[in-house]
């Protein structure tokens, strides 16, 4: 370590654990969510769901519903306004990924899944709408439907990949290498359907003013949703405004356009009034897709010293006959461990169920359960420590493609985690660490999530009083986006954190990225840094023209600090923003970055493809846990958790730690209690509520110790990688591995409920 005597130019805000800017609003009840905007004359809508699987509606009786006091209208496929078909996926227009389903709601007599909305009641009150919705009578002609995954699995077809969703691939001859390997593991793993269960149920308020539409929406993809709605309604995009200042959790479930959004808009059109459609929790389950089920095979072949000779990972998941998102389940298995022979194959089966959707780390969350369980099984076969097996196969080049990683700190994450967790206290023999009635187990697994970026348009305005306004239509679902971007702007412009205001959550703002794929923070930061650099250039140009002490200075010799521009290394030579702007006769400077034009899009896509060829970028980490299993009842308790992560530079220690804990907690639920149960006869979800679908509660969650390597990625803006999803990867495997260590029982079928241990 070299000592620096001169103060460094290290930024003062980025990295610090600054409190969230929206903390006061969220703790006093003044944060306003989608369903909560008051409108004069607001009407309320309620959905009628199909109670059968695939079918054709032969008759629909709305008389009883219409007779309920306060009912304004009952919309069905016989009287609803026209809706254009949902756009199909195209890489040329990324907004097409938000077509949740292909169903043309209330414009068709076809029912595609049990729960599809087939009518909407609009009434003066929520209670009237809900009551009347139960009185709509439906007659169907039932059609054969594929709703049993276990039966349909064998008809799965190879899955196509695309630049956004990779997975699949081969190197060498993995099957032959597996057959010859001295030590092998070859197992089948299964994971159930899962539901996001954001605590805020999806809600929409739609208000028409002539041919202009305003939508208050619980959304994590405002610009894509706007374009989708424009296509469905045959309107120009600028006739539609979407607003979402606060979103009560998303996790991927609020990225697509689902039935509630579309039907609120149609209902408002038909009723001639603003309409609110707040989904019931059951309606969320029945109209908003969740994580697919999966069956996976992982086979590993190794030399006795632990070097991998073969990795095989295959998967079967499901989509729907009317849409869905094929999960890249095997993706992480091509990036984590060096092996001369790798085979990754993904299959998908289309079913007559509600389409699946991305859910926190789609692909990697369930793929790492299988892979990282198998690595643990291999370590047991080899008689080696599971961390040693992982480090033995670590690599600085992507194992599948040979492309270098932009940055790889997996080894360091395991080292840091093992030390802080006290891994060395683990005795390797399963069942060897008992405390009274509790069987104690330690488990470990790798975390891995790829990193990409999206385009972000924004404006930055610096006023003479030193205040800064950043405007960008990104999303706040709890990631702390507005806080972090204010930290970045404050440092880039040398102003106090409190002087920066960040506007977001509105399509009237410059188009932001969707909040997905852990992409939002770095994507916005890239444009924000570019904008701040331009502000400095503009100010310097103004200074040059006047009698400023900065006259004649080169841009790279000037830094922004203390509310002005100053010569680097000369603390007294420079000028405040107020002074520069006042001499130039200006009240402010403003710059904008990006545009929605074709040139801007092409430039972004070119850079995107170039970067993908040049580097493999990922966030990674090591998950450690201690479980306790009751020797008699099989009850499983998590005693403590530790995660050591490489997410590049940590922008805000407080919010980043919460992001990590959040993913880990969701992973705990996936490991131990969560599953969406689909009736294999009728395709109906039988546990559509928080009383029957068990997410972790306070008592389930132990202290979670989070550590960061805090090492900037050299290829990313400010060195930031994404933080939202890496945290859930590896979690379920770490739990399964700890349960094995505690009990000697290997559970390969999630969730790990106590009946599987008895």
């Amino acid at each position: 370590m070299t000592e620096t005597l001169v103060p460094t130019t290290t930024a003062p805000h980025v990295g610090r654990p600054i409190d969230r800017v929206d903390g006061p609003a969220k703790t006093t009840g003044s944060a306003t969510f989608a369903a909560e905007f008051p409108f004069p004359g607001l009407a309320h809508a309620s959905l009628v769901h199909a109670e059968v699987g695939r079918a054709r509606i032969t008759a629909i009786d709305t008389a009883q519903a219409e007779a309920v006091t306060g009912v304004i209208t009952v919309l069905t496929h016989l009287n609803a306004p026209t809706l254009r078909p949902a756009p199909k996926f195209s890489v040329l227009d990324l907004s097409t990924i938000v077509s949740g389903t292909a169903v043309n709601y209330l414009n068709t007599d076809q029912v595609h899944w049990n729960g599809q909305p087939v009518a909407v009641v609009v009434a003066e009150t929520y209670e009237s709408a809900r009551h009347a919705a139960r009185l709509v009578g439906l007659t169907y002609e039932e059609l054969p439907a594929t709703v049993d995954f276990a039966a349909a699995e064998s008809s799965a077809k190879p899955q196509k990949s695309n630049p956004m969703m990779g997975g699949g691939g081969a190197k060498g001859d993995a099957e032959a290498a597996l057959a010859q390997a001295p030590v092998t593991v070859d197992q089948r793993y299964t994971t159930p359907e899962l539901s996001h269960n954001a605590l805020e149920p999806h809600a929409t308020i739609a208000a028409w003013d002539g041919d202009k539409l305003t939508v208050y929406e619980s959304s994590q993809s405002l610009p894509f949703m706007r374009r989708h709605l424009a296509k469905r309604l045959d309107l120009p995009e600028d006739a539609i405004r979407l607003v979402a200042p606060f979103v009560g959790g998303g996790f991927g479930g609020k990225g697509n356009v689902w039935a509630g959004t579309i039907l609120a808009v149609l209902a408002a059109r038909a009723a001639g009034r603003p309409v609110r459609l707040s989904l019931t929790r059951e309606a969320v389950y029945r109209t908003v897709g969740g994580r697919t089920r999966s069956t996976q095979r992982v086979a590993l072949g190794a030399e006795p010293g632990g070097a991998l000779a073969a990795i095989i990972h295959t998967s079967v998941t499901r989509t729907s006959a009317v849409g869905g998102f094929p999960e890249a389940v095997t993706n992480a298995s091509g990036h984590l461990y060096a092996a001369p022979n790798i085979l990754l194959k993904q299959h998908v089966v289309e079913m007559d169920l509600l389409p699946n959707a991305p859910m926190r780390a789609p692909g990697e969350a369930i793929g790492t359960f299988a892979l990282e369980s198998a690595v643990d099984e291999l370590a047991a076969e080899l008689g080696l420590d599971p961390i040693d097996v992982r480090l033995r196969n670590d690599t600085d080049r992507d194992p599948l493609s040979g492309t270098p990683f932009s940055h790889r700190r997996l080894r360091e994450a395991f080292a840091l985690g093992a030390e802080r967790f006290g891994w060395s206290a683990r005795t390797p023999q399963p069942g060897s660490m008992r405390e009274g009635r509790w069987l104690v187990g330690y488990g470990v697994a790798a975390a891995y999530h790829p990193i990409m970026m999206l385009a972000a348009n924004l404006t930055v305005r610096l006023a003479a009083d030193g205040t800064v306004i950043v405007r960008c239509g990104f999303h706040e679902m709890g990631m702390g986006g507005a806080t972090v971007q204010a930290q970045i702007a404050a440092d880039a412009l040398g102003v106090p954190f409190e002087a920066v205001r960040v506007d977001y959550g509105d399509t009237d703002l410059p188009t932001g990225p969707m909040a997905g794929g852990s992409m939002q923070t770095a994507s916005v930061a890239a444009s924000l840094l570019e904008a701040c650099a331009k502000i400095k250039t503009s100010l310097l140009a103004l200074a040059r023209r006047s009698g400023s002490p900065l006259r004649g200075s080169r841009a790279d010799a000037v830094e922004a600090r203390d509310g002005g521009l100053y010569l680097v290394g000369h603390p007294d030579q420079g000028e405040s923003y107020a002074s520069i702007l006042s001499r130039a006769g200006r009240s402010h400077v403003e710059v904008s970055i990006g545009s929605d034009g074709l040139g801007s899009k092409l430039k972004f896509m070119t850079r995107f493809i170039r970067d993908q060829r040049r580097w493999v970028r990922a966030a990674s980490g090591a998950q450690f846990c201690e479980v306790r299993v009751d020797a008699d009842t099989g009850e499983i308790r998590l005693a403590r958790w530790l995660g050591a992560f490489d997410i590049g530079r940590v922008a805000n220690l407080k919010t980043a730690t919460s992001q990590m804990r959040g993913g880990i907690v969701m992973g705990m639920g996936m490991a131990l209690s969560e599953e969406t149960l689909v009736d294999p006869r009728h395709g109906r979800i039988v546990n559509p509520g928080l009383a029957e679908y068990h997410i972790p509660v306070h008592a389930d969650v132990p202290p979670i110790d989070v550590h960061f390597l805090d090492d900037p990625d050299p290829t990313m803006p400010l060195g930031l990688l994404g933080a939202g999803e890496v945290s859930i990867t590896g979690v379920a495997a770490a739990v399964a591995n700890a349960v094995y260590h505690a009990t000697g029982r290997r559970v390969r079928d999630l969730p790990i409920t106590l009946d599987k241990l008895l």
Binding site: G29, S30, A31, F33, L199, G249, M477, S658, G662
Partner: protein, 158 residues
């Protein structure tokens, strides 16, 4: 039906149908949207309000049952817990937060009054993390901010 509920210290006359929940009355009729609806089935705790000092799920209560009673919602709360939640990052999206805070305030009072929980051992009196977690388990947080919530409550409970 005509009722009068004292909400956050102010008498609020209401004319509601007998089937309207207290939660919907607060949100839709009185415009107090700080109280959240997460499940409408008593399973998530997002709608927790304080009724005459006790925490209840407002979604499982009918407005007409609370005629003449005193309700405190998050809009009427001024408590050190709010600052502690911010400091310990006891939330992310903020949707469960009003319910967590109202629940915690009443929970602290329950504990002070000597009410035991499922994890209370004979003779123990302190509010341990285990006690807080047990007593707060009716308030779900999908963002997984539980560690921060427990830390905030521990700090305020002293």
């Amino acid at each position: 039906m005509k009722v009068q509920i004292r909400v956050n210290g102010t008498d609020r006359p209401l004319d509601v149908e007998p089937w309207v929940s207290l939660l919907d009355a607060l949100r839709d009729r009185l415009g107090l949207t700080g109280t959240k609806k997460g499940c409408d089935q008593g399973a998530c705790g997002a709608c927790t309000v304080i009724a005459d000092g006790e925490r209840i799920n407002a979604c499982l209560a009918l407005a007409v049952q609370y005629d003449g009673r005193e309700i405190t919602t998050i809009e009427g709360v001024e408590h050190p817990l709010q600052r502690a939640f911010v400091e310990h990052d006891g939330f992310q999206c903020g949707y469960c937060t009003p319910g967590q805070i109202c629940s915690a305030i009443a929970m602290l009072a329950e504990h002070r009054a000597g009410m035991p929980s499922a994890v209370t051992e004979n003779g123990s009196a302190g509010l341990t993390a285990a006690e807080i977690k047990e007593r707060m388990s009716g308030n779900l947080c999908r963002c997984g901010a539980y560690n921060g919530i427990v830390a905030a409550i521990e700090e305020v409970a002293g």
